[in-house]
């Protein structure tokens, strides 16, 4: 009985974060019950909404899966947002400049997106191992540069024929886009790719020597070095692996969520993915569920804004507060450690 209660402790920070949102809603004069109801219906109310939530989930899931690898290697891959953007840019480059049959187009776009994300991440890796630049800073700078590159492309070389508007490129041809499910933004093919990626990452981390090396590096770089693990090689490879999946996520954004390269092509999915993996405490099997929960909160909060005029950042606050409280108070033993030691001794 007491053990079950101890396991249920995790609900305390989770429920506290919901109470925090209720408090915010009350302060802003909104009815919390009504707000949560429209959050729910915004995410799952109709088939369209449900498919929208699912479509938002796929790139988030891809970026999160990639982060599992970089986190295992002890890397703070904050630049994942920029890797998503680069993937989107590369996929768009293929979509705008190549014409071929649909399967060829899609393969080229996916490969280009993964390569671009990987390269952007590897720059951070090399800057870390050779340049002693912390990956947090290089990642942030590279993210901003990727966003600036997007803005340059859509206002310059890739502007639509009727003139640049800073909003996006012209829509891609049908052959360049992922086949979509029932006029939604959800592409089952992209989910299949994410599923394969998840299986590969779970296998790599659990059953391969490379996965073991990454974990050794992440846990204790010095002993890993003594064991003959090359921190440079594994760092750059882990970054490339994570970046490739983030880049694929960016490709999915332009080829199914949108149909063109847009100004805020990622819109914070990378940062959200970091929160997903932190909340999952780096456990592979939790990642898809938390990512789905987060994408339903964010999709729902957009409908909430349309209905109640409450700013859609409410969804971000809910996810942020939840991760913060779970990080701080989720580990029961840490909080009560001293007291229980005293009680037992």
């Amino acid at each position: 009985m007491i053990d079950t209660l101890k396991k249920a402790w995790i609900l305390v920070p989770v429920i506290s974060s919901l109470l925090f949102i209720v408090l915010l809603l009350v302060i802003f004069g909104a009815d919390p019950v009504e707000a949560f109801a429209s959050l729910w219906s915004g995410a799952f109310g109709t088939q369209d909404k449900f498919l929208s939530t699912t479509a938002f989930w796929v790139p988030l899931l891809l970026a999160s899966i990639g982060l599992l690898i970089t986190f295992a290697a002890g890397l703070w891959n904050i630049g994942v947002e920029g890797q998503i953007v680069m993937g989107a840019i590369a996929a768009s480059g293929v979509a705008l400049n190549v014409s071929a049959s649909r399967p060829v187009m899609l393969i080229l776009e996916v490969l280009a997106a993964m390569a671009a994300g990987a390269v952007w991440a590897m720059i951070s890796g090399v800057l870390k191992t050779r340049g002693k630049v912390n990956e947090i800073f290089s990642g942030l700078a590279l993210t901003n540069l990727a966003i600036i590159l997007t803005n340059y492309l859509i206002s310059g070389p890739w502007q639509p024929p009727e003139g640049g508007t800073f909003r996006g490129t012209q829509p891609f041809v049908e052959e360049a886009l992922f086949p979509l499910f029932a006029n939604s933004r959800f592409s089952p093919l992209s989910l299949l790719l994410a599923g394969i990626a998840l299986a590969i990452v779970a296998y790599v981390l659990k059953n391969t020597f490379w996965g073991l090396k990454l974990k050794a590096l992440g846990k204790n770089p010095y002993s890993a070095f003594l064991l003959g693990v090359s921190s440079e090689k594994e760092t750059v490879l882990a970054m490339a692996f994570g970046g490739a999946l983030a880049g694929l996520g960016g490709g999915v954004r332009v080829l199914s969520w949108f149909d063109s390269l847009r100004q805020s092509i990622s819109g914070g999915i990378g940062y959200l993915a970091l929160l997903v993996v932190m909340l999952a405490a780096y456990r592979v099997f939790l990642v898809p569920f938390i990512a789905y929960f987060f994408s339903s909160v964010l999709t729902g909060s957009i409908s909430l804004q349309l209905k109640t005029q409450l700013h859609s950042s409410l969804g971000g606050i809910l996810t942020g507060v939840m991760v913060l409280l779970v990080l701080l108070f989720g580990d029961r033993s840490r909080i009560f450690a001293k007291k229980e030691q005293k009680d037992n001794g």
């Binding site: 915010l24 703070w76 904050i78 800057l127 050779r130 340049g131 002693k132 630049v133 912390n134 947090i136 800073f137 290089s138 942030l140 700078a141 590279l142 901003n144 540069l145 600036i148 803005n151 340059y152 206002s155 310059g156 940062y271 970091l274 929160l275 932190m278 409450l310 700013h311 950042s313 409410l314 971000g316 606050i317 942020g320 507060v321 991760v323 913060l324 990080l327 701080l328 108070f329 840490r334 909080i335």
Partner: protein
């Protein structure tokens, strides 16, 4: 460009640098005590919003600054509590607060966007402002600039020349030794994390109340990260950090000037300057490439050049202190 215009350009560089100088001084204090408060970008957004709303509602800018400092200290308290008391990862807590501060500022400030509000103005120092060149450059500035320079000098003096400053440094360098000499390591870390956070809060509010007056979503986005990079470039020293802040303040003005000179180059290209500079300065202070270049210099130059360019962090930066 005549000399008057040139002075105006440099004066605007110094003004742009002022809030960065304040944030850098605050974070320098925190990190010299051994704690990394990575939440600066979120803290600055939150405090820029808080400061503006408090000043707007009361009509008094100083109440705005005060409210922003309280908000900044509160975020810093979360970092300190989570890392010192609960032994959680400093980077993880800082990052979550970065994202959360951004969203909170958008939500809480949603009814106050693009409103005219009170602001802090320019102040001409009598007599001194009449000195040619130096007068208009240094003594006919926004009040925020004087505060930034004053804080930088005070913190430089405090860290280097006073007993409490020495105590603070000892906590960040060798906490065990400090503890053995009777210093309450964790109390000092709490105190300077919160003081640092309050200063970052002041910096956030100086954007919405003096530099880019008013509030809108994402008002200071990115500047917190730049301040964090400047702390490293500054080698965790206030005066050098201030020069770093001026360097980055210059990129904003430089972009405006270059834009005027080369209208054919896309606007967006100039936005890239600070981010390229960020990677550049971090490479300068840390990379092995620069070290190899230094080794190629004549022997007698190596030491001074290394001292000029290279930095090393406080030895216990980011490490928990556990009483044994």
């Amino acid at each position: 460009m005549d000399s008057g215009e040139l002075i105006a350009v440099f004066a605007s560089i110094l003004l742009q640098a002022a809030p960065l100088m304040i944030a850098v001084v605050g974070e320098t204090l925190t990190e010299r005590a051994g704690v990394i408060n990575l939440s600066l970008d979120g803290t600055m957004l939150l405090t820029a919003m808080t400061g503006f709303i408090a000043a707007y509602e009361t009509g008094n800018v100083w109440i705005g600054f005060l409210a922003a400092m309280v908000a900044g200290a509160f975020f810093a308290l979360i970092v300190a509590f989570g890392t010192i008391k609960l032994k959680q990862n400093q980077v993880a807590i800082g990052l979550v607060l970065t994202v959360l501060g951004d969203d909170l500022s958008s939500f809480l400030g949603q009814n106050y966007t693009r409103l005219p509000g009170p602001s802090l103005g320019r102040f001409s120092v009598p007599l001194l402002s009449d000195i040619p060149v130096i007068g208009p450059l240094l003594f006919n500035q926004n009040v925020v600039f004087y505060i930034a320079v004053g804080l930088t000098i005070i913190v430089w003096w405090f860290l280097g020349k006073t007993q409490p400053g020495l105590k603070l440094r000892s906590v960040g360098e060798r906490p065990e030794a400090a503890f053995a000499r009777g210093v309450n390591v964790n109390l000092i870390r709490y105190a300077y994390t919160m003081i640092g956070g309050a200063l970052v809060g002041f910096a956030g509010a100086s954007y919405s109340l003096a530099i880019k007056i008013g509030w809108s979503e994402g008002h200071t986005r990115g500047l917190g990260w730049i301040a964090l990079a400047i702390v490293i470039f500054g080698g965790w020293a206030p005066i050098r950090g201030a020069f770093g802040a001026i360097l980055f303040g210059a990129t904003k003005t430089l972009a405006t000037v270059l834009q005027r000179e080369y209208p054919e180059v896309s606007v967006v290209a100039f936005n890239a300057i600070p981010w390229v500079l960020m990677i550049g300065v971090l490479l300068l202070v840390g990379s092995e490439w620069v070290e190899n270049m230094i080794l190629k210099l004549p022997k007698s130059f190596q030491r001074p050049v290394r001292k000029l360019l290279r930095v090393s962090p406080p030895m216990a930066l980011g490490e928990d202190f556990v009483k044994k």
